[in-house]
């Protein structure tokens, strides 16, 4: 395979401001040298990114060649809209793909989430994961030591009880948990991670995930396991600071990193930030653990991924593919994974440099959690509307509505919305 085959091209890469992106910038020079392709990186903050990326890939003119995409319904919608280029043909072409690339190094679940059409024969791959996040438990070792005698709760019920306890003792300064509760579709993954914990080991398959019973016309939001999962979430919010319902991730993580909360349940990607003494008051004091179990002794959870894709409207797809291939090869995945703490290739977790760069507790926890995660995505138009309804249900439970009543209403609302 000739890395120089597209030399002289210039490609535009549209990225979200993600730790991966920051790390990538340091390596782009090497790619340019190796391929002779010039790379222009356009990176935007996440909340601006989605809108712009969606405009860019759907436009008639080419705006970006390679772009970062959320490997959930966002990718799915683009696929439906025919805006994204299938990558399988490139992978299958020996002239375009290096023999050492090894797609199988990615866990099956990651690949499945980016292959369409779902559940049909011969699906095509549309994105390659660049980072993943598993929903895990972070704790403040000092506070756990002070209030719980160092014992990390083993079950969800214990966790919530302990968190409530800490809040009660914390005199309005220290709280048991810090969770994001702001009404936003962004909440989908954290929330799904916790519901998956309540769901346990039972199967849940894409595109419906746990939410539908194998058919879009059969929502099961009033399933007792979902009710339980949502009430966990509400319970954790309740054990948090009083304005938790207005907290986005930036507020929840800041609250935790200032040392005011004992527990924080969210994506593993926050880990590296907490260990940075410049931005965190609790660097070196953070403990990591898989989500506490809700039944049995294993805590289940969800994972979620960013991927990169090639825009259908790109005029330089071959050069774009070279970039995608390079950025996701084994070496780069491990190198860039250092920044995200979530390298999506199995091989990375065996990479000494990668593991060494991260907190040992963190690596252990994420590695364990990875064994018990499922995708948090649902592939359906309008899914984010439903997510907001789910968030509303959490808010209701938070405000005191009985979980059963909340999910019953949720079920009706979802039916209305999807009808």
């Amino acid at each position: 395979m000739d890395w120089k085959q597209q030399s002289g091209q210039e490609i535009t890469v549209l990225l979200s401001e993600h730790p991966w992106t920051a790390e990538l910038r340091k390596h782009v020079g090497a790619f340019e040298a190796e391929t002779g392709i010039k790379v222009k990186i356009d990176a935007f903050a996440e909340d601006l990114y989605s809108d712009r990326m969606n405009l860019a890939v759907r436009s008639a003119e080419s705006v970006a060649d390679v772009y970062m995409v959320q490997m959930d319904s966002a990718l799915y919608t683009q696929w439906e809209a025919g805006a994204v280029e299938p990558l399988t043909p490139y992978l299958d072409d020996a002239a375009k793909t290096d023999a050492a690339y090894d797609l199988a190094d990615y866990p099956e679940g990651f690949r499945a989430g980016a292959s369409f059409p779902v559940g049909q024969p011969d699906p095509q791959l549309y994105a390659i994961p660049i980072s993943f996040e598993a929903y895990t438990l972070f704790y403040n070792k000092e506070l756990v030591e002070k209030y719980l005698g160092g014992k990390v709760p083993a079950t969800m019920d214990e966790l919530i009880a302990a968190a409530g306890d800490i809040s009660a003792k914390g005199e309005g300064k220290i709280f048991g948990a810090s969770m994001r509760g702001k009404r936003s579709a962004e909440l989908v993954d954290t929330m799904t991670g916790i519901v998956l914990d309540a769901w346990g080991s039972e199967p849940a398959s894409l595109p419906y995930n746990i939410w539908f019973d194998g058919d879009w016309s059969k929502p099961r939001f009033n399933d007792p396991r979902i009710a339980k999962g949502l009430s966990y979430y509400a319970g954790l919010l309740k054990a948090g600071p009083p304005s938790a319902l207005s907290y986005g991730w930036e507020d929840a993580s800041r609250f935790f990193s200032q040392g005011n909360a004992a527990f924080f349940v969210d994506a593993s990607v926050f880990g590296p930030g907490f260990e940075d003494a410049k931005t965190s008051a609790i660097a070196g004091k953070v403990g990591y653990a898989p989500l506490p179990a809700s039944t049995g002794d294993i805590g289940y959870s969800g994972h979620w991924s960013w991927g990169i894709s090639i825009a259908k409207n790109s005029a330089k797809k071959d050069a774009a593919w070279l970039f995608v291939q390079w950025a996701t090869n084994k070496k780069m995945t491990a190198a860039l994974g250092v920044a995200t703490g979530g390298a999506p290739r199995d091989s990375s977790w065996a990479d000494a440099d990668y593991v060494k760069a991260l907190d040992a507790g963190y690596v252990a926890a994420v590695k364990t959690q990875m064994q018990h995660t499922r995708p948090t995505s649902v592939f359906r138009q309008g899914w984010s509307d439903v997510v907001l309804l789910v968030v509303d249900a959490i808010h209701q439970i938070y405000q005191g509505t009985a979980p059963e009543d909340a999910v019953a209403e949720l079920q009706t609302n979802v039916q209305d919305t999807l009808e």
Partner: protein, 287 residues
């Protein structure tokens, strides 16, 4: 000067810009509102189904209510406050320029930054506001975090942010009023309030009406400070028409429905404006 034949050229450039900027999107939006279209996939003509949907659902009416709740309070407070401040500062001779500049600083902060800073300041635990309140023995509420306090908090944030808008316009309007009627009113024994009521207010009327119209539209279109602080929560307590429409368009990709929301909403605002223009028959009367 009715005989001025060229006067119609004065409006031409504005009409041109206006036509270019609005005709196409307005027609487009009207058309979109009749479609079921998910941006990319096939568009399907569904007639007025989108309208029926949004009007019969709970989301839109709730958002509409919230929006008016917000708008009414924000406009009233900001107008009164802006007017009061403009009147007060108008009496200041020395340092007025500096004071005015400092007072319009909030307006210069972008919506994102406003949301961030106020969320930081209003944090019940880590925020300066409740800390300062605690110094005087008040236990501050959870501001953005509870249903009853969320919207008032947003109104408060908007008041901080946008009062400068009404203030600066009314300030300059006060500056351009003729001084003679004020002197006459003083001699007639008018108290400051009476002067305000009978002289200042009527003379400010054209500007004041304009300010209110634009503030009303602005507040009805409220988006960034809600999006940035509560995202419409808790429990939809702060969801506005714009956040709903945004969500519908850019998060759910339901462009037809989003356009329908916009159309209904525009019609409501339009009706308000037309009612105003009908009532206001004697605008522009001169001495």
């Amino acid at each position: 000067m009715h005989r001025d034949k060229h006067i119609r050229w004065l409006i031409a450039p504005a009409l041109l810009l206006l036509a270019a900027g609005t005709l196409y999107p307005v027609i487009y939006a009207g058309y979109l509102s009749l479609l079921q279209w998910n941006w990319g996939s096939e568009a399907k003509f569904v007639g007025f189904r989108n309208f029926v949907r949004i009007l019969s659902g709970t989301g839109f009416p709730k958002a509409l209510f919230n929006t008016f709740y917000f708008a009414v309070f924000a406009v009233v407070i900001e107008t009164l406050l802006g007017l009061g401040l403009a009147l007060a500062i108008n009496r200041i001779r020395i340092g007025a320029g500096l004071i005015r500049t400092l007072m319009i600083l909030p307006l210069m902060v972008s919506g994102i930054a406003v949301s961030l800073i106020w969320k930081v300041m209003l944090d019940p635990t880590l925020g300066i506001v409740n800390y300062l309140l605690s110094l005087v023995g008040i236990v501050g509420p959870a501001w953005l975090g509870t249903v009853p306090t969320a919207m008032p908090s947003i109104i408060m944030i908007d008041t901080w942010w946008q009062t400068a808008f009404t203030f600066i316009i009314l300030s300059s309007a006060l500056k351009s009023l003729p001084t003679e009627p004020f002197e006459a009113a003083r001699l007639e024994g008018a108290t400051p309030f009476q002067t305000f009521r009978h002289v200042t207010l009527p003379m400010l009327k054209p500007v004041l009406i304009t300010v209110i119209i634009f503030r009303t539209i602005d507040t009805l279109k409220v988006f960034d400070i809600i999006f940035g602080t509560t995202g419409g929560g808790p429990l939809r307590a702060t969801e506005s028409v714009q956040t709903l429409a945004y969500q519908t368009a850019f998060k759910s990709y339901k462009f037809g429905e989003s356009a329908a929301i916009a159309v209904v909403f525009s019609l409501i605002i339009l009706t308000l404006c037309i009612i105003y223009l009908m009532i206001d028959t004697d605008d522009g009367e001169k001495a």
